[in-house]
């Protein structure tokens, strides 16, 4: 059998294949879909954080010309079950046996029937001939609310006399899990230094520029339900919709279209995604829904709100003896996605450090706010913020340089693969497969020229200017299982289709997956078409979340590609009446060595239909599923230099270095784009973004004027330093990196600001570090700033 890989696309910084289409305005996003005869949906949403619906009258709405139907909770109850995200709530047996987590199942009615638990909760659904008319109808629906007490703060929700968030729940606990290793009590008792701090990660909204949307249509002839969606997890959507609508999964097709950013917000199922196909079925007409920005900010899933009460115990040399963290996470109005985010926080808390004794206690509280779900980093940013801030405080307490302190505690490369002694989210022993954290620190030191930076810092301080440097080290266990698949087939045209269950939301799969396929099969990349996330093209899939797609789909494609190459050559051998090792695949053409004989894939496909005796190889299709044996652990070190203007509180990012390790890079341009994009989202959280409610639970940041995303002038020229350690967990050696960039910035920037304001004794406990927040810190700080700025 001839050997493949003449082309070597993997590793090349190819310009993206999908760009021309997108640049010409040829993207096909969900709202671009023209569905003749479709009605448009709009949702009436709760205006109260907690209330009983005492009456709802949609009669005037129903009478409005152009309105096709109005559904209320009463119309839906009894016909459709409430939403339970079974996949996310499932507890792996290993975790169940060892930790016995409490994970409450709190079904969410598709439309609120008698109780609303957060502002924005869907209360009624209008279907009309246009979105304009549907919104006219919303204004005609009358709802009477009987206000109930609401609680917004997660720690307050856990107190004994807190009002009930859900009237029929026994308390405001959504989940509880505790895990650790060793003996923290003894370690704290024996410690030379103990640092106890509280750090808070605030509430974010992922805010892709394209909000969520979907369209559903039941074909009048074959009764197939087709759902077009910008979901990140089409197979999960299919597997949920089919039983929910009483259908065989064979009759449900979910197609992920071009997606304008996901970041996790489009990766969980929400009630609207069940209601739209339900309405299409019930009305016998196609139905479309496009969320608008106001809905996305208020009622699209939120993220990240966690409080960490963290204690570090260290010996006289600053070596960590123990970490104890009591975490309270704000789940929002219901426990919708279980351990996904909180356990990520738990599993990533100790990061790259050797910590012999650990005790982490997580409580997920429910509150009368929008529910939270995974958002780029999914629990890791919160954990890193707590740990890296705590390390900084420890360094300050002990008078050790923060970078030195971190380096003393790093897991060393010779310790890889490293077992932490804890269980990972699968319930299996947590093991970091590869990493070289000391080398990353070295690269950061050099990239920043740390000694020179410290000198400059001193010199500037003498002029009354405040420069600071901060670092944050993050690990990311990527490539989550249980599997992803690829079906690769030669089509009638001779082109090769690669189908996988992992769609793209901007990560460039049409290029990177094609690079992998082209190498594995041994064909030019321009004959490859990628279909990501059409459930009709591959039976099973998981989706693009959790920095998994390149690892899982990528390796499935690699496997299937190799299989297809072999199948092509064996099939061709039948047709040529020879053996496979007499043949080769060169530039997409089958050639017979030492002859002029050649055949294109298209001709081969047809020839197979005509050639007798080829029963084994009549189709040129291969499917392969990849089950990752373990996570592939990527890592990043963020190092930032800031200048803080103490008179105004403004923070300028003067330099930003990301040292990044994500195994083998398939396409460095795409990879760097992901790191930069994630980093800037992190910067947004560090300096600008903050979703806020007022005291009554009313959203205060419901437009882009108030929920502030980073803008071009905020972003410095971020420099990327790269280290590559191919992962031993998969044949391609790749690791995931979609989320990594977003994990480190709040911690790194907070550390840098604290460093800059060291003369004032400021301690940063939360973000965003807005000018008003910085001035507040300075006013409250120990030293009178008048003495220093005079």
């Amino acid at each position: 059998m001839s050997e493949p890989r003449p082309t070597g696309y993997v590793g090349a910084a190819l310009p993206r294949l999908e760009d021309e289409r997108l640049l010409r305005g040829g993207g096909r996003y969900i709202d671009d879909l023209d569905l003749p005869g479709a009605v448009d949906a709009a949702f009436l949403r709760s205006t109260q954080a907690h209330a009983r619906i005492t009456s709802i009258d949609a009669s005037r709405a129903r009478e409005l010309p152009g309105v096709v139907a109005v559904y209320t909770g009463a119309d839906i109850a009894g016909r459709m079950d409430p939403l339970v995200n079974t996949e996310e709530l499932r507890i792996p047996p290993g975790l169940e046996a060892e930790l016995k987590p409490l994970v409450r199942v709190q079904p969410m009615p598709l439309l609120a029937d008698d109780e609303v638990n957060y502002v924005g909760q869907p209360v009624a659904m209008v279907l009309a001939e246009s979105r304009y008319l549907a919104e006219d109808a919303l204004e005609l629906i009358e709802v009477d609310y009987e206000l109930l007490p609401a609680v917004l703060d997660p720690e307050e929700a856990l107190t004994a006399d807190a009002p009930r968030v859900l009237l029929d729940a026994e308390d405001n606990v959504g989940l509880r899990v505790r895990h650790g290793v060793g003996d923290v009590e003894a370690a704290f008792a024996a410690a030379e230094v103990v640092v106890s701090e509280t750090f808070t990660s605030h509430r974010y909204v992922p805010s892709p520029i394209e909000p969520r949307g979907l369209a559903a249509r039941v074909d009048p002839f074959d009764d197939q339900l087709t759902v077009w969606s910008n979901t990140q997890t089409p197979h999960r959507m299919r597997d949920h919709l089919a039983p929910a609508l009483g259908r065989s999964p064979d009759t449900v097709r979910v197609i992920s279209v071009d997606v304008g950013g996901g970041f996790g917000q489009k990766g969980i199922l929400v009630v609207e995604e069940i209601l739209i196909p339900f309405a299409a079925t019930d009305l016998g007409r196609p139905v479309r829904w496009m969320e608008d920005r106001n809905e996305n900010l208020v009622a699209g899933s939120h993220a990240r709100e966690q409080v960490h009460h963290i204690d570090l115990a260290a010996d006289a040399d600053g070596r960590l003896l123990a970490v104890r963290d009591r975490i309270v996470a704000n789940l929002g109005s219901r426990n919708m996605v279980g351990l996904v985010v909180p356990y990520n926080s738990l599993a990533h808390l100790c990061g790259p450090y050797v910590v012999p004794n650990v005790d982490i206690d997580v409580t997920g509280a429910i509150t009368n706010t929008m529910f939270t779900s995974p958002y780029r980093g999914a629990g890791r940013p919160e954990a890193v913020f707590a740990m890296e801030r705590a390390m900084e405080r420890l360094a300050a307490r002990m008078g050790i340089d923060p970078a030195d302190l971190r380096e003393r505690n790093l897991i060393r490369p010779e310790q890889m693969p490293y077992r932490t002694g804890m269980l990972d989210r699968r319930g299996l022993p947590q093991e970091f497969d590869s990493g070289d954290y000391p080398a990353m620190f070295e690269r950061a030191r050099v990239a920043l020229d740390l000694p020179a930076l410290r000198e400059r810092q001193e010199a500037l301080l003498a002029e009354g200017r405040h420069l600071g440097v901060g670092m944050a080290m993050c690990l990311e266990m990527t490539g989550l299982g249980p599997f992803e698949g690829a079906t690769i087939s030669v089509r009638t045209s001779g082109r090769i289709q690669v189908a996988t269950g992992a769609p793209s939301q901007g990560q460039g799969h049409a290029t990177t997956f094609a690079q992998i396929a082209a190498d594995a099969i041994g064909v030019p990349i321009d004959v490859i078409d990628l279909v990501g996330g059409d459930t009709a093209t591959i039976p099973y899939g998981v989706g693009t979340i959790a920095s998994r797609a390149l690892v899982t789909a990528g390796n499935a494609i690699h496997q299937a590609g190799g299989l297809l190459r072999r199948r092509i050559l064996e099939a061709a051998a039948t047709v040529f009446d020879t053996t496979a090792d007499e043949l080769g695949l060169v530039d997409g053409v089958i050639v017979r060595h030492a002859t002029d004989a050649a055949m294109g894939l298209r001709e081969l496909l047809l020839a197979l239909a005509l050639t007798p005796g080829g029963a084994d190889s009549d189709g040129l299709v291969e499917t392969s599923y990849f089950q990752p044996p373990n996570y592939a652990t990527a890592s990043s070190l963020h190092a930032v230099v800031v200048e803080v203007h103490t008179a105004t509180g403004r923070v300028d990012l003067r330099d930003y270095v990301v040292v990044h390790e994500a195994g083998r890079l398939v396409n460095p341009t795409v990879a760097h784009g992901q790191v930069i994009g994630g980093t800037v989202q992190g910067i947004g959280g560090a300096l600008l973004e903050h979703f806020q409610y007022d005291a009554a639970g009313q959203p205060a940041t419901s437009t882009f004027m108030d929920y502030m995303l980073p803008t071009p002038e905020i972003v410095p020229d971020i420099r990327i330093e790269e280290i590559s350690l191919p992962s031993p967990t998969n044949a391609l050696g790749v690791k995931g990196l979609g989320e990594g960039g977003a994990i480190g910035p709040p911690a790194a920037i907070a550390n840098a600001v604290e460093d800059a304001l060291r003369p004032y004794g400021v301690v940063v406990r939360s973000c965003p570090l807005t000018p008003s927040a910085i001035r507040h810190l300075l006013r409250g700080a120990a030293i009178d700033q008048e003495e220093v700025t005079a």
């Binding site: 919104e135 006219d136 204004e139 300096l687 600008l688 205060a700 108030d706 502030m708 980073p710 001035r775």
Partner: protein, 286 residues
């Protein structure tokens, strides 16, 4: 979100516009650039029955100036004013203020008078109007009248305009001196200001001959701190007394808290911005 239903009309003369405004019982909203009104309509925070588009009325589309003043018609866009060479030369504080408004794409449609009629307390144009003692020309079916800036701006989102009124244009007198400065503080370029200041100044050797100061984004309409202005006139301006005057002026305002900034912060920022602005205007006045 989509706007509620309304009728649209585009009169061809000011006369027609005024007649429409006075003849109907229906609620009419004047549409110029739409950059303030359309977001409100898209959020369904207003339900006018008629939108009256004045953006193409030739009578309202002129920029004129002479030794006395600059006159900007109600349909003239912010971009057009900010890039006009005569404005940049003769009313630099106005051009600078406009360049702080939102983003170029918004300024390409938004009008100077539209911003004045809207009177968002964080907006730059009402502040410049107050700073320069602008005069606003308002008409309705009973006739045309001129209002001073202080009579026109009554409070956040509130002006002296009645439902039947049409703002025809604004007149900015020549600034009282060559010195000027305009600074606002916002977290991101183009955001509404947490606070802002404007200064115009004339200098006689090393004395301040005349000065006007405006503070905005501090709640309500823009403020002229007349005590601070009086303190400055006739005196010298140094780093030391600029800071002192700025602090005193800031102490006289009571900005409130909002989700982005506390009132305390706003006052601090005003003091800092004014300190910088006074010194800058002083330099430019030389």
């Amino acid at each position: 979100m989509k706007p509620p239903p309304f009728d649209y009309v585009r009169p061809t003369t000011v006369r027609e516009a005024v007649d429409l405004l006075s003849s109907t019982e229906r609620e009419v909203k004047v549409l110029a650039g739409g950059q303030s009104l359309m977001p409100v309509l898209n959020m369904r925070m207003a339900h006018p029955e008629v939108l009256l588009d004045i953006s193409r009325l030739p009578e309202l589309s002129t920029i004129e100036y002479d030794d006395g003043a600059l006159r900007v018609g109600a349909a003239v866009t912010q971009s057009r004013v900010a890039t006009d060479p005569a404005v940049r030369a003769g009313w630099p504080v106005l051009a600078a203020a406009i360049e702080n408004i939102g983003h170029p794409q918004l300024r390409n449609r938004g009008t100077v008078c539209g911003s004045l009629a809207h009177n968002d307390s964080a907006a730059e144009l009402p502040a410049v109007a107050v700073l320069l003692d602008a005069r606003l020309s308002v008409t309705n079916s009973t006739g045309t009248r001129t209002l001073s800036a202080s009579d026109f701006f009554l409070g956040t989102f509130t002006t002296a305009l009645e439902p039947e009124d049409l703002l025809l244009g604004v007149e900015f007198p020549r600034p009282l001196g060559r010195g000027w400065s305009f600074h606002e503080f916002a977290q991101r370029r183009g955001d509404f200001a947490s606070a802002g200041v404007g200064v115009v100044m004339s200098r006689d050797g090393d004395r301040v001959a005349d000065v006007a100061v405006v503070l905005f984004g501090v709640g309500g309409s823009p403020v002229r701190p007349t005590e601070a202005e009086n303190d400055l006139r006739g005196g010298e301006l140094t780093a030391g007394n600029a800071a002192a005057v700025a602090t005193t002026a800031a102490a006289a305002i009571e900005p409130g808290d909002d989700i982005h900034a506390t009132g305390v912060f706003r006052r601090e920022i005003v003091a800092e911005l004014l300190r910088i602005a006074l010194l800058e205007a002083w330099e430019r006045a030389a």
